[in-house]
């Protein structure tokens, strides 16, 4: 094991920081303003980043956290990862009780060395060190000091003193030191410029914060990284395993990544033959893309392998052709190679994936991606290819990579591009329900739904990721109505940039309608109960981030037994404001309930001042979606 526990003299490089003396760890010295809403308090924290050379960075972190309660326990546990590029040089630590009295120090043998492989990864060389004092008399204070070294500086840490809710910060500091000729670049989020000191050959930037109160989360708030202050760092010149680069512009960043891809697109002869056999007769680019993407989907599968520089460089196309598997980089690189063989120009694209991904900062060239896709560029009509999916349609970004900026890698550097932006009418759910309630209250419904774009993603997973049995199992749990059974389910798919799924269900529910002696209670909106209730008692602090974009149209016909007349029915509602459009209309004639509902929303950020009206809107939807038709027996 490379990790050695040296007593390093890294302190010499820096002016001595102000440290709390041991007695100052007494918990009663923390001002009340900092314990309110907090599970732990950062008494002191210092992160030092020193760029020694283009291939070596020293990281030093010392902190003292006071853990106030059980919820804070996890933050008092030390975790630090290491891999082929990163070694942990030393770990020291001390535990103090509530009065600030020292209880004990970290012993080497108490530090666990663990595998970094989690359930989602097949293989990785990540490992981590873990230490826990297992002290649970609150409050207590842990002080840790960790030195590590990175060889191959591809990314630098982000400093975010308050990373989440329920932590307060008494003092936190970031010190960044680098040689004049290789500046560390930074990007500020809700932060001010650093103080700068210069020496003969190098420069030091210092940021410091004091006395930040704990925050508590709010519903529909933007992610913490958009609200709380942070400093992102990026290298300029860097070197990793023999590859050197410059990250100070997108151009040079892209050239570095491009160089890593060079020569890795060679295909074996048999695959080349396959490509030509499939595409030579096709004339349009989109047909060629569709055929080759299907070929990729049918012949390869996604396996996550993060070994060595494999975290940055894809396995060669040959490797994928032979093993028939790869991670996102390897599969995207392979896809680009297949397209190239067919004469279709395509690019390797780095992107931040996931529904709540951190947005790309265009003005800050740096490694800002966790995923790779492929793209056949053509302005607004670019075709995006998710190469880890065995079933997505060609051109479909969806909620995983849609609505965001991405880094497209070309020979002349990286270009910032936009993936597809979905509109409500592209994310459709149009549902027609024809149902009947019999004399016992039993509902039999035939449910036909057209789903498109992001709205078809659940159904798409059901078709492709679940077995027939799992699908049936899911459908029989997913609906919020009492005991029911999905007797029949059918799906039909249309592969397109905006994919379409037609869903056809037959559902029975024995006690759907509630019957009394005289009355019949029916909720006509059987399958689409939305909206929510929130409290408006506390003043709203943060903006409101509504994240979904969709258009739902429901048309429901329910036949009821003869002999009832209408007593109460949902009021006709039509709301159209900045939050969305919502309408319902109900009528009853000839023993039939007719219910028509339309609901449209767009992803948007609203100022905190609109919280009350936002809640009113959501509650209106909640209430009206659940409103009932009450029929009473017609006594003649």
């Amino acid at each position: 094991m490379r990790v050695s526990f040296l007593v390093a003299s890294i302190l010499i490089f820096f002016s001595a920081p102000r440290m709390l003396g041991a007695q100052e760890y007494a918990a009663n010295l923390i001002p009340d303003s900092l314990t309110t809403n907090a599970d732990y308090v950062k008494r002191y924290e210092e992160l030092r980043v020193e760029v020694v050379s283009s291939s070596k960075v020293k990281l030093y972190r010392k902190y003292a956290f006071t853990i106030l309660n059980e919820r804070g326990v996890g933050y008092g546990v030390l975790y630090d990862y290491y891999d082929k590029f990163r070694s942990i040089e030393s770990i020291e630590g001390t535990l103090y009780d509530a009065s600030g009295k020292k209880i004990k120090s970290v012993k080497k043998k108490e530090i666990a060395d663990l595998s970094g492989t989690d359930g989602s990864e097949f293989a990785t060389d990540d490992r981590y060190k873990k230490h826990d004092f297992y002290f649970r008399e609150y409050p207590y204070t842990v002080v840790y000091e960790v030195e590590s070294e990175t060889s191959g500086v591809l990314s630098l840490p982000t400093w975010m003193p308050q990373r989440r809710d329920r932590v307060s910060v008494e003092q936190s500091k970031l010190v960044v030191k680098f040689p004049y000729n290789n500046p560390v670049r930074y990007y500020l989020i809700n932060f001010i410029e650093p103080s700068v000191t210069s020496n003969s050959g190098d420069k030091t930037l210092t940021w410091e914060v004091k006395n930040i109160k704990a925050v508590i989360p709010e519903e529909y708030q933007p992610s913490w990284y958009k609200i709380l202050p942070s400093v992102k760092l990026g290298p300029s010149y860097f070197e990793a395993q023999g590859h050197s680069g410059d990250m100070s512009s997108w151009e040079s960043y892209g050239k570095y990544i491009y160089a890593l891809l060079q020569g890795r697109d060679e295909l074996p002869q048999n695959v080349k033959q396959d490509v030509h056999a499939m595409t030579d007769k096709l004339s349009s680019t989109s047909d060629k893309v569709a055929v080759l993407y299907k070929y990729l989907q049918d012949n390869t599968r996604y396996i996550s392998i993060q070994m060595g520089i494999g975290g940055w460089q894809p396995f060669e196309a040959k490797y994928v052709a032979e093993k028939k598997y790869g991670d996102c980089k390897a599969l995207s690189n392979y896809m680009v190679a297949l397209l190239k063989e067919a004469g279709v120009y395509a690019n390797y694209v780095e992107i931040q994936s996931g529904e709540d991904a951190e947005p790309l900062i265009e003005s800050f060239p740096a490694s800002q991606a966790n995923h790779v896709i492929a793209c056949v560029p053509n302005g607004k009509d670019s075709i995006w290819l998710e190469c880890t999916s065995s079933f997505d349609s060609p051109g479909y970004n969806g909620s995983f990579t849609g609505n965001r900026k991405a880094i497209l890698i070309k020979e002349d550097g990286a270009h910032i591009v936009n993936t597809h932006h979905y509109t409500p009418s592209e994310n459709l759910q149009v549902r027609n329900v024809v149902a009947k309630i019999d004399a016992s209250g039993k509902l039999t419904a035939s449910v036909n739904t057209k789903l498109t774009g992001v709205e078809q993603e659940t159904a798409s997973s059901l078709i492709h990721r679940a077995s027939a049995e799992e699908r049936e199992d899911y459908l029989n749990r997913a609906l919020s109505i009492p005991s029911y059974k999905v007797n029949k389910h059918e799906y039909q798919e249309v592969r397109a940039c905006i994919p379409v799924i037609y869903e056809n269900l037959t559902v029975t529910s024995d006690n759907y309608a509630n019957m009394s002696n005289k009355r019949l209670f029916v909720t006509p909106n059987i399958f689409n109960l939305m909206g929510a209730k929130f409290s408006t008692e506390k003043p709203r602090l943060y903006p409101i981030h509504y994240t979904s974009t969709f258009l739902n149209i429901d048309t429901v016909y329910i036949d009821v037994p003869e002999g009832y007349v209408l007593e109460t029915q949902p009021k006709t509602v039509e709301i159209n404001n900045s939050f969305g459009k919502y309408s319902i209309k109900t009528s009853f004639k000839n023993n039939q309930i007719e219910f028509i509902r339309s609901y449209e929303r767009q992803e948007k950020i609203y100022p905190s001042s609109e919280w009350k009206s936002f809640v009113t809107f959501m509650e209106e939807v909640y209430k009206n979606d659940r409103s009932r038709v009450i029929l009473v027996k017609n006594v003649q």
Partner: protein
């Protein structure tokens, strides 16, 4: 001990050797690499036509061979062939298996390993072999390395096959065989040959039926070398021949194991065979039994330095604290409680499913941390130092599965609690959980298999049927002096529901929790003045109170008299059931409503009263409502005297709940009087 084995073997020198071929009655043979075109023909397999992957066969072989350390090793071979039916079955093409490192510094050795993928391409079978670079090793703990690989070139319809051999240096450890797993198996077979030196008791469980079951006796010779690498001892080679008992067990068309809700552990129903080492027979005249019964196990545990020995000799570690904690009390129960609270509140628990101490008691006490066993054995020892009668009680928790009742094997047990006797009263104590009360256990401990470790190892059967969870709720809607309707809700929760809320309120504020309750009510009902009692009194159940205000604006008032209580959906959602239903406890819920009708309203309609029983009187449901012009009263009760039901009774249980759900949805209708 090893030397002894070698010496004993020397006495056994015989020359008889005979081989017997097997009678092959419908038992298929599997040759590595023997994949035919016709194997690709089936589009699905009758065992499960919707399976994502199917094991064409899964075969394990355990036998013995002589080794260079003077004794025998187990040779475990595994050979598996699978068909990948579709993309969702690709997960089945990733295989991992552990190799172990033992305390005596010996370890499992992987002897042979190969894997290959077969595909039909243009009418030809194409083989793709796994190369060594495709095998990854992950050291997951000190004692285990997981080998992991994924088959190359896997497509829908591929056949994948692998085999490996592991040499296990411990002859008393035989790997269990699982006939059943996530994916269905057409044939699953264990072929096991055990020389007469070692005696095992096989234990079969699960719902599967053996399609092949045979036993044969044969003689076999083992070549053993001892003293190798030891400068002070001559290297000696022996040949030992003895009777070997060979068992072949197989199951045919085994369905995949599927989880179902309300099952303590689905592993209880997984078809498998496990082996309990019962004796060592180095020669005909020598018989050294391993632990055969609980008396022996208990005796051994009491002498074990990592268990009973420590308890017997507590020394003076605790005296100072015990004196400080109990000096002001004369009553034993008060003293016992104070010690329990002290241990519960000051020790931190590191979850670890072991029955033995992880380190000496002294160290545990000094660091105030340890596993469940560490903490509860500390508690036992502290009580013993006080002169109390306290004993450890070991058990296997519900999620750990049911150990076979008559084979005492420590690794099947994963939990230790303390059994204290004061006067003629017994108390079961668990100080490892922060919010358990004195004489309270988590319901996960109620798995019917407790065993007191004492001279007489008493079985303590903690059954879920004996756990009564009682909940009482009362709602009053009365008229205040201004004839305005005011409402109050008060509920005394059951113990485990209280525990769940305690756990919840550690993570969220009372206010947030009350907001959650509000969401359970219809929008036009307003709640206020939330209060909660006994939150930190862990022996007691929680009591909850708040005010309810109905909306009296409309001409017609419809409301559910159970408000947010009651079942909105049937807890038994699935239409079919394979396993028995195992609820965590029995229950008795009582709800009463007294509703004074405000002036100006008349009762238009109330639900009908109803009563029902489940299987004579195991389940009882009543919904008794009465209405006068001034007052509506409701009494609802749902009571189950049993927690466990057979799979066959699932349908009727589901129907019983259907009735309840239907009744729970019924409405009261009030109408404004015409003026």
């Amino acid at each position: 001990m090893l030397k002894q084995i070698v010496l004993s073997f020397l006495l056994l020198l015989t020359t008889l050797y005979c081989s017997i071929s097997l009678a092959q009655n419908g038992r298929p043979k599997f040759k590595y690499g023997d994949v035919k075109e016709s194997d690709f023909a089936p589009k699905s397999y009758a065992v499960d036509t919707s399976a994502n992957a199917v094991f064409l066969f899964d075969k394990g072989t355990s036998s013995y061979e002589g080794n260079n350390n003077g004794y025998l090793s187990v040779v475990y071979k595994k050979h598996t062939r699978m068909r990948i039916m579709n993309k969702n079955g690709f997960d089945a093409a990733t295989i991992s298996f552990p190799l172990f490192h033992y305390d005596d510094n010996t370890e499992d050795k992987l002897d042979k390993f190969e894997a290959v993928t077969y595909n039909m391409e243009n009418g030809k079978i194409i083989e793709t072999k796994l190369d060594k670079s495709g095998v990854f090793k992950d050291k997951v703990s000190k004692g285990a390395v997981v080998y992991k690989f994924t088959f190359p070139n896997v497509k829908e319809g591929s056949i994948v096959e692998y085999r490996y051999t592991v040499i296990v240096p411990n002859p008393t450890v035989l790997r269990p065989w699982y006939f059943q797993g996530e994916y269905p198996r057409l044939w699953s077979e264990l072929d096991i040959s055990i020389p007469a030196f070692y005696e095992f008791q096989p234990f079969k469980r699960g719902l599967g039926v053996l399609a092949y079951d045979t036993i044969m006796e044969t003689n076999d010779t083992y070549n053993i070398i001892s003293g190798e690498g030891n400068a002070y001892q001559r290297t000696t080679a022996y040949s030992l021949t003895t009777t070997v008992t060979r068992n072949i067990w197989a199951m045919k068309d085994v369905k995949g194991l599927k989880d179902e809700p309300y099952v303590s552990s689905s592993s209880n129903y997984q078809s498998r065979v496990d082996f309990f080492y019962t004796a060592f027979r180095p020669s005909e005249n020598e018989y050294k039994p391993a632990i055969r019964n609980w008396s022996e196990m208990s005796e051994k545990l009491m002498k074990n330095p990592a268990f009973g020995l420590e308890i017997k000799n507590p020394g003076d570690t605790y005296n100072e604290d015990l004196l400080r904690l109990t000096k002001s009390d004369s009553d034993d129960l008060t003293k016992a409680k104070k010690i329990y609270y002290y241990v519960r509140d000051t020790f931190s628990c590191i979850d670890n499913e072991e029955v033995l101490l992880s380190q000496p008691l002294k160290k545990i006490y000094a660091s105030r941390k340890g596993s469940v066993a560490d903490i509860n054995l500390t508690l036992v020892t502290m009580y013993k130092s006080m002169g109390f009668e306290a004993f450890p009680l070991i058990l296997s928790t519900r999620d750990n599965g049911m150990p076979p009742p008559n084979f005492p094997r420590l690794r099947d047990y994963n939990y230790v609690i303390c059994r204290l006797k004061l006067g003629d009263q017994f108390y079961l104590l668990d100080a490892s959980r922060k919010n358990l009360g004195f004489n309270k256990l988590d319901h996960n401990c109620y798995n019917e298999n407790g065993r007191v470790i004492n001279d007489i190892p008493l079985a303590v059967t903690l059954t879920t049927d004996s756990l009564k969870e009682t909940k009482k709720t009362a709602v009053f809607l009365t008229l205040d002096d201004n004839k305005k309707s005011i409402g109050s809700f008060s509920s005394e929760l059951s113990y485990y529901e209280s525990q769940a809320i305690r756990e919840k309120l550690k993570k969220q504020s009372k206010e947030d929790y009350f907001n959650e309750i509000k969401k359970e009510y219809p929008t036009d009902v307003k709640l206020s003045n939330f209060s909660i009692d006994s939150l930190n009194n862990y022996e007691e159940s929680i009591k909850m109170n708040y005010d309810i205000d109905l909306n009296w604006e409309d001409d017609m008032i419809y409301f559910n008299p159970l408000f947010a209580e009651g079942y909105k959906t049937n807890p038994f959602k699935a239409a079919t059931r394979n396993f028995p239903v195992e609820m965590p406890f029995t229950s008795d819920e009582i709800y009463t409503l007294s509703f004074e009708i405000p002036d100006g309203y008349v009762v238009e309609e109330v639900p009908k009263s109803a009563k029902a029983t489940y299987e004579s009187s195991i389940g009882y449901f009543e919904y008794i409502i009465s209405a006068t012009p001034k007052m509506i009263s409701l009494r609802y009760r749902l009571k189950f005297d049993m927690a466990n039901f057979s799979a066959e009774s699932y349908d009727s249980l589901r129907e019983f709940y259907d009735l309840i759900v239907k009744k729970h949805a019924e409405q009261i209708v009030l109408k404004k009087k015409a003026k």
